[in-house]
């Protein structure tokens, strides 16, 4: 009932006639808290990279910083552009979006270049692009459309299975790259859209049971009969966090070092005296393990600050679910909110040694153009939903 109350209270200025600059740019109805949280996160990322990665690329101390700053700037621009677009248009383009999504991921298999044994990126003229990152947003936009569109067709179970198939197809493609982490994000986003789309609780119970069975099969049963589904390193990463000391120099090593790094930061951090994340003890410190860098350099204060920014981000996203003027917006916002939450939890949990290593970047913090851009676009979509909701409320009052 909260929702109804909110609509009645909205628009305190029914007689406003002057149109300000912000109004003209369409920024008046921006969710400023959401925008600031996102910009603060990417800003903190640039700040951290500036301090922690100066020696990473010989002869080019600003390599990661400069690029991340540019990605952040492009992301903000992309977000602002999206605020001018009514997200509802994406619902109409769902088939096109979905096709583009699957095609771009498949292109990686044909043209993609291989980094560390997996092909995830396309080499574009100026930078390499990872379609699966943008895919996280595209999948939500398309799937939400399919859910709204197919709401009346078929039995509830048929619908559930249809959504699952639509979501799992791109997830499987990504899994084959192989990119286990991103495919998990796809799966979670799919379930989130279905969840906010009203798929009955009982269906989720069945899906949950099936997942548990599958995981058991993949991790326990399949290897026993000699059918490896996961790559060895994937399985080791997934299970080693359960008993890290056994893998002190193997898969659990990275996590041990990350935990030591974060712990050694204590309350206020070690600043430039940081050693764990400065001396290669923690791998991938500018991407997957950037949270360990923050934890060691800035201590509990820094790490808790970052967590609160994410909490703010998530809170605003969830708020936008409730504000949305239509169900499509609610589903999209919900999908984005949950997938962001999932990524943050899995990545930070991985850094803290309580989640397995899955190669999921920390949204807006981890270095990487595709991830930063895609996350800002997702935030842009959220802003669009927010703005449209505000405009429709005002419209109703104005007219």
């Amino acid at each position: 009932m909260m929702y109804a109350t909110r609509t009645r209270q909205a628009s305190p200025e029914p007689f406003a006639v002057r149109v300000g600059i912000a109004e003209r740019l369409g920024l008046a109805n921006l969710d400023w808290q959401l925008a600031l949280a996102a910009i603060a996160l990417v800003g903190f990322s640039v700040f951290t990279l500036a301090q922690a990665t100066t020696n990473d690329v010989p002869g080019s101390p600003g390599y990661f910083v400069d690029r991340q700053a540019i990605y952040g700037l492009l992301g903000v621009i992309g977000m602002l552009v999206l605020t001018r677009i009514d997200y509802s248009r994406f619902r109409e383009l769902r088939v096109g979006i979905y096709t583009f999504l699957c095609a771009s991921i498949s292109l990686v298999f044909v043209f993609g270049f291989t980094a560390r044994g997996s092909r995830r990126s396309l080499d574009l003229p100026f930078f390499s692009f990872q379609p699966s990152e943008l895919g996280k947003v595209l999948l939500i936009l398309a799937l939400a459309g399919f859910v709204i569109d197919g709401a009346r067709r078929g039995s509830p179970w048929q619908r559930t299975l249809r959504y699952l198939c639509l979501g799992m197809a791109p997830a499987a493609l990504v899994f084959l790259q192989p990119d286990l982490g991103t495919s998990l994000v796809f799966a979670v986003a799919t379930l989130a859209v279905m969840y906010f789309g009203g798929v009955p609780w009982t269906h989720f119970a069945v899906i949950g049971a099936t997942i548990v069975t599958l995981v058991a099969l993949v991790l326990v049963a399949a290897p026993k009969v000699g059918v490896p589904v996961l790559h060895g390193y994937q399985e080791e990463r997934l299970t080693s966090f359960l008993h890290p000391s056994e893998h002190a120099s193997g898969a659990g090593y990275q996590q041990n070092q990350s935990v030591v790094a974060i712990g050694s930061g204590e309350k206020t951090g070690r600043g430039d005296r940081a050693t764990q994340t400065r001396l290669d003890f923690v791998p991938e410190r500018h991407t997957d393990f950037i949270f360990a860098v923050i934890g060691e350099r800035y201590g509990f204060m820094g790490a808790a600050f970052v967590l609160s920014l994410y909490a703010l981000l998530f809170w605003r996203a969830l708020k936008i679910v409730t504000l949305s003027k239509n169900s499509y917006g609610a589903l999209v916002a919900g999908g984005i909110a949950v997938s962001l939450l999932f990524q943050v939890f899995v990545n930070v949990g991985m850094n803290l040694g309580i989640m397995p290593i899955t190669g999921i970047p920390l949204p807006l913090m981890s270095y990487g153009g595709s991830s930063v851009l895609a996350t800002f676009l997702a935030v842009g979509v959220l802003q669009s939903i927010h703005i449209q909701a505000r405009l429709s409320q005002k419209g109703r009052f104005a007219w």
Binding site: Y195, G198, V260, G263, L279
Partner: protein, 621 residues
């Protein structure tokens, strides 16, 4: 229904949002608590672990001090060498993998798998847990190869080590001695406190005796390392430089030492020489033949091991100047003379008729070479080395133990307090000794101490066991009015800048009362023996411009050629230096030992010419 496009979401959505919100709160709480736990509750532990992570401590070995002769010439210093070391605890646990690695390593180091395993085993016996040095003096190409392939050779490292260098090869080899890795027994001893397995300590000679000065203090370098344990560029944190060992200056005189060694080597026979300052016990020269190059001990080949360690007859590592058991022949007669004089068994003037032999009971004792000298007094008896004269004195002192007492007083048959390890105690045979030997069933013949035994002792034969060092002390006591000096080769300890840190002036061992007239009579006899016509070594020293007092000795050794001895003090009559030479199977004293002593004294007086002769005119008698 809320699912329709354009429819506003309904109340059911609110529930679902609330559920997700609750889950999110729980997840963030988990992260926050974990963060709190890691950083605030156990942060200090992780900080300690991180600090431990980033640094490695490397021991920096200190070079040992140099060993110099008294003129400052280097006898022993160091060179650097690259040693291939293996930390066995870091070898693969899997037996097959370990075997594979050792085989790879053997291929590089030109060692068979068996040899590597044996080296490891031997190393573990010396000091378990220490890195085993597989090979010294490896080339740089091997070092680079190993560095590039570190991951294939876990536990293998190359260390820059200091290796003892001997610029003059065999020079003073028995004195300088050798070094080696500290063993388990030594590690338990207090003087090696603070040392670790794998450290090098002195094992023989002055390297052993003055180890605490020569051994330096190892330094420590803390290096910042990355996750692979490789030093980061510029990551040297703290560096405690090693403090090198102090230099040790020996009493050895290079000219005396060289002359003695070459004179001894010229015979090609086992033997020893010692030249000592009679006033303070400083050893000016000391050598033993056959000798060895201490460098061969660092990493001996099998042939070298056999030659150095397994040859019991030649025993090149034995310092015959201090570690031998010899009878001394007629050089002992000064002791017999002093014993008889001091105990009034003979007077300076009493003539004893030497008709070539003396008969005691059924046994006849003859002069060497069948000579007979007629009536001889003490001085004359020493000059011609009349055995009959001293047989008679031995017979007179048969039951008195006076000869044994005098010998013991002069330092025979007991350790001298020499600063190098390994000196032998020796034996002055006596009635008590004989009785004890019989009582213990160790005697070859079951008989009491006989007059013959004492007669044999009177001329330095029979069961007497001593060494050149003890004879040098006894002759020095005669020369210096009865002071029993403590012989030593350590002169002073210097730091690298040459500042003297410590001088060694060991207290004399004791004082023997010698009647001055007896002393001068004995010295006169020796002087005449060396430099008056008819003297036993006149043929050798007759033309020597410095007055000396010297005594030949010839030991009959059943089954062997005679052992040649010569004992000489110079300049006569106020000697500063004593030289003892012995050559196994060298014949009569004047045949080999005396000429060698002459060359040594020539070297000594060439150098100290300004201080010689003038005092006593220097006319050879």
């Amino acid at each position: 229904m809320y699912e329709r496009s354009g429819d506003r979401p309904g109340p059911r959505l609110a529930l679902r949002v609330a559920v997700v919100g609750g889950v999110a709160v729980a997840l963030f709480a988990v992260l926050a608590f974990r963060l709190w736990d890691l950083q605030v509750l156990s942060g200090a532990d992780y900080l300690a672990e991180a600090k431990n992570n980033r640094t490695r401590e490397f021991k920096v070995i200190a070079p040992r001090g140099d060993i110099l002769d008294r003129d400052g010439n280097v006898l022993v210093d160091n060179r650097t060498s690259l040693a291939l070391q293996l930390n066995t605890q870091k070898l693969p646990e899997d037996a097959a993998e370990e075997r594979e690695e050792l085989q790879r390593l053997g291929g590089l180091a030109h060692m068979s798998l068996r040899k590597i395993r044996r080296t490891i085993k031997e190393g573990e016996e010396v000091a378990a847990g220490a890195p085993v040095t597989l090979r010294k003096d490896v080339g740089y190409d091997l070092v680079y190869y190993l560095e590039e392939n570190q991951d294939r050779f876990p536990g293998v490292s190359v260390q820059r080590v200091f290796v003892r260098a001997y610029p003059d090869g065999t020079r003073a080899a028995h004195v300088v001695g050798s070094v080696g890795e500290i063993n388990d027994e030594e590690l338990k001893e207090p003087e090696y406190k603070g040392l670790e397995p794998g450290d090098e300590v002195g094992k023989e000679g002055v390297e052993y005796a003055y180890d605490r000065y020569l051994r330096g203090e190892p330094g420590m370098t803390r290096i910042q390392v990355n996750a692979l344990g490789q030093p980061t560029p510029g990551g040297q944190l703290i560096s405690e430089p090693p403090s090198p060992g102090d230099n040790l200056k020996l009493t050895l005189d290079p000219d005396v030492q060289a002359a003695g060694e070459s004179a001894l080597a010229s015979f090609g026979l086992p033997g020893a020489f010692i030249t000592m300052d009679v006033r303070d016990g400083q050893i000016l020269g000391m050598g033993s033949n056959p000798t060895f190059d201490p460098a061969d001990l660092i990493e001996p080949t099998q042939a070298q091991v056999n030659a150095l360690y397994r040859d019991d007859v030649l025993a090149p590592l034995t310092n015959r100047a201090t570690e031998s058991y010899y009878p001394t022949g007629s050089t002992f007669k000064i002791i017999t003379a002093l014993a008889a004089l001091e105990n009034d068994q003979v007077s300076l003037t009493e003539p004893i008729f030497d008709n070539g032999s003396i008969t005691v009971g059924t046994q006849e004792f003859q002069n060497a070479g069948g000579a007979s000298f007629g009536p001889v007094d003490l001085v004359h008896a020493l000059q011609v080395s009349s055995d009959v004269y001293f047989y008679t004195l031995g017979l007179r002192m048969w039951k008195t133990n006076q000869l044994q007492r005098e010998a013991t007083k002069l330092g025979i048959g007991k350790e001298s307090g020499f600063d190098l390890p390994g000196e032998t105690e020796g034996l002055v045979p006596s009635k008590e000794w004989r009785e004890q030997l019989v009582a213990e069933g160790l005697a070859l013949e079951d008989r009491p101490w006989s007059a013959g035994d004492n007669i044999q002792l009177a001329i330095g034969q029979g069961d007497l066991q001593t060494n050149p060092l003890q004879m040098a002390i006894a002759y020095a006591a005669l020369a210096n009015d009865g002071t029993l000096v403590t012989p030593h080769v350590g002169l002073e300890v210097e730091d690298a800048a040459g500042r003297v840190l410590k001088e060694f002036n060991p207290e004399p061992h004791g004082k023997v009362k010698i009647n001055p007239s007896y002393r001068s009579a004995v010295l006169e006899g020796l002087h005449l023996a060396a430099q008056a016509p008819g003297g036993t070594s006149y043929g050798v020293f007759g033309g020597f411009p410095i007055d000396v007092a010297g005594k030949t000795g010839t030991v009959e050794r059943p089954g062997h050629g005679d052992q040649s001895w010569y004992a000489v003090v110079a300049p006569y009559p106020n000697p500063r230096v004593v030289t003892i030479v012995t050559v196994e199977e060298g014949g009569f004293g004047a045949e080999s030992a005396a000429p060698a002593a002459l060359r040594i004294l020539e070297a000594y007086f060439d150098k100290h010419a300004t201080q010689t002769g003038a005092a006593n005119g220097g006319s050879p008698g």
